[in-house]
Symmetry: C2
Subunit: 256 residues, 2 copies
DNA sequence: CTTTCGCGGTGATGACCATCACACCCGCCG
DNA sequence: CGGCGGGTGTGATGGTCATCACCGCGAAAG
């Protein structure tokens, strides 16, 4: 309790610095029911409120490192995080991008084995940390938490399977990149839809290097492929906002 | 109950035909505690015994098909099964090989979405089927089942992640194949260890085509790589039993 | 016994892409 | 202002591997 009193002002300051709304109380969180993990029973939420430690992290924070023994889990409240794994030679690949409402570090916590991935915040983010031991108790005490855990794990599996399909079944790099763009296009930012032409605007905060890691290729190839798409008039790229001009053409490239 | 009386003789006949010991009663199963899912509480096992439908399947049986709505889950008692996914053009990739004691079709059952993979028995196999609705009840009734489910799901995730690492981070096909062989070498068949030379005997029931699907390459390349390993004296292949002669050399190929 | 079929071996060829190398842009900071 | 660093565009080159084509083998089937 005392800790909370000390902590909150710092969090609020940080949140203000990052221009974030901080979610202090899970019971009052308005996003709760739309999120993968957070929609728990009242009792479970109460307990969660008691054992969680809320923090705000700047962009680029490493929440955990691949290979380290599990310390606990993070529930991502705001912001997005990148899960990646690295080979001995430093080549690395992105496993998936986690959205708000997801639990991170779950495989490690449940099986009590080292973290499978390195987790890095991609934006200023708020997350609730729960220590390994408290999480295990929490899990055993409330059956509905177990259900949510199972759902988060199936979500992880599905992401992994789709990554495997992308890596193993696609024929060419352009195909994989087109597929990726089309997935992003499912959540466009239709802020104004200026012009009303069929363009689909999306926001891409990944660098070409990261895109390369996502599809398992090299940075240069990503650059060439995107240049190709641009030259063909399928795509317009202005900084972090892209415009999909010819969605059909991209879809035509994808066979899976 | 009546059904059981009718069913058992057929199962027994099939089991005899396949030269299998059939495990009729989970409570008496001697393998139980060494298995991922089966080591449940007494009460849960009793319930499981009541709702399961035991069957024996020949090699090559398709337990479920990718994309179909979930009907239920299978608990694999004996035999191994291959989980694979296929692209539109018929190219397919093996996600993993399931061992006895694993639950199959779990992601689909938990999230009530279509099966992620096609599951095919690789050997004559015994499995317990539980229908979707009964499984959900079972899960809600016994908390320890939820825990086991979570463990199975983390296992699935880990397999998937290691597959992603293999597909995305390995440099060459020989490296991936060497890695695969080394994984198999962790469970050698040391039946006699005739000679006492350092050779590690393993049993490989996959065709070269399947190995190709496992590492995401073509059948011809697998043939060439294995031929190469043989010519270099690293590996002896006699039908389905292989002998790893030079483990060090294979390890040296692997960087991850 | 011959046929068929699934599996494994191998050569030739070319596409695709990783890699190296360098140039460019832009925001930042001393 | 100049230098620096992160992100990006682009050419040249060579290696890896998919693909096609064909062969041989052995087991099962007719």
């Amino acid at each position: 309790m005392i800790k909370k009193v000390v902590v909150v002002p710092r969090e609020l300051l940080m949140a203000m610095a990052y221009n974030l709304h901080i979610i202090e109380n899970c019971l009052k969180c308005t996003f709760r029911e739309h999120r993968l993990f957070c929609d728990l029973s009242h009792d479970a939420l109460g307990k969660l409120q008691a054992i969680k430690a809320t923090s705000v992290y700047p962009k680029g924070t490493l929440l955990c490192l691949e290979g380290q023994p599990p310390r606990g889990i993070y529930i991502l409240c705001t912001g997005r995080a990148k899960l990646s794994t690295t080979s001995a030679e430093g080549k690395s690949i992105i496993l998936r991008i986690a959205d708000p409402g997801e639990v991170l570090g779950l495989t490690a916590a449940v099986s009590n084995t080292p973290y499978e991935a390195t987790i890095e915040t991609m934006e200023p983010s708020q997350a609730n940390f729960i220590s390994q031991s408290e999480f295990v108790h929490f899990l055993q005490e409330f059956p509905d938490v177990g259900m949510k855990v199972a759902q988060q794990l199936t979500h992880n599996c599905k992401c992994a399977y789709s990554e495997i399909r992308s890596l193993g079944l696609s024929n060419s790099v352009p195909e994989k990149i087109a597929k990726l763009i089309l997935v992003w296009a499912e959540h466009p930012l239709d802020l104004h839809r200026q012009g009303g032409n069929g363009d689909i605007p999306i926001r891409v905060t990944l660098t070409q290097e990261e895109i390369a890691q996502f599809v398992g290729t090299s940075r240069e190839t990503v650059s060439r492929v995107l240049g190709d798409f641009r030259r063909k008039g399928w795509l317009k790229i202005k900084g972090a906002t892209w415009n999909i001009v010819n969605k059909k053409a991209l879809e035509h490239l994808v066979t899976t």
